[in-house]
């Protein structure tokens, strides 16, 4: 795809409504999905016009993979989950974003994927604050994004 070099990136309004920012890695914004059913992070590469992973050049794809691995490792440490689910879907929100979800064998969708299974459940604020703080510490991020 042709990207407009003068365009600036901003988070898609649907992602902005459904998430809380943890901070920015070199390529991607790290977001927490506001669904307390699952510890669920989203990486959104901060370049305008991206839809597919293929729209990134090789250098950026490698950076995205390393950011996925870093975030997945932090999430696994923070949650002691049974399995990680990592996915770039984008059928509903076209802006490129990668889901990194900590799955537990007793979560409401297991073993199915999380999308569209049960209604999102609001976070208890204190629990969300602890989750943000634990992730931010692991990733060296301060929540400023």
């Amino acid at each position: 795809m042709i990207l407009d070099p003068a365009a600036t990136w901003s988070l898609h309004p649907q992602l902005a409504a459904d998430t809380l920012g943890v901070g920015d890695l070199p390529l991607s914004r790290v977001l927490i999905s506001l669904d307390a059913n699952y510890p669920w992070l989203i990486l959104a590469p901060r370049r305008p016009g991206l839809v597919e992973i293929l729209d990134l050049d090789e250098t950026a794809r490698v950076q995205l993979m390393e950011e996925i691995a870093g975030v997945a490792g932090a999430l696994k440490q923070v949650t002691a989950c049974d399995k990680l689910n990592i996915a770039a879907l984008g059928n509903v929100v076209p802006q490129l974003h990668v889901h990194v979800v900590a799955r537990r064998k007793n979560d409401p969708a297991w073993p199915a994927p999380v999308w569209g299974r049960v209604a999102p459940r609001p976070y208890d604020q204190a629990k969300l604050d602890r989750f943000v703080a634990a992730l931010g510490k692991k990733l060296g991020l301060d929540g400023d994004c």
Copy 2:
């Protein structure tokens, strides 16, 4: 995780039952999911004991990303799909594998993810043969795996 260096990789029996091999890239075996509802490829890195992308070292993760991009690009060219869905889930089959699915806005699950939505539909053999040949040509693979 600790990997046994003497162990040899073999494709998980469930993946073997559900797919057809297209060929081997440097890291991964390329498989076609035998569900004619969607043009659906699976990459299975050929190293024993892998469960998570995190179980790969950085060099292998980068290789996996480039193989994902190569396969996704070939699939997009062959199918002229509306969207690619790329995912490492593994909640049911624990051996590390990455789904690369060509989605169309009129496919039976759109816009939901493909997993668990509708029953797999068998391929017409001639259609499957054409799909294997077209992919093999794009990827430089000969189906021998």
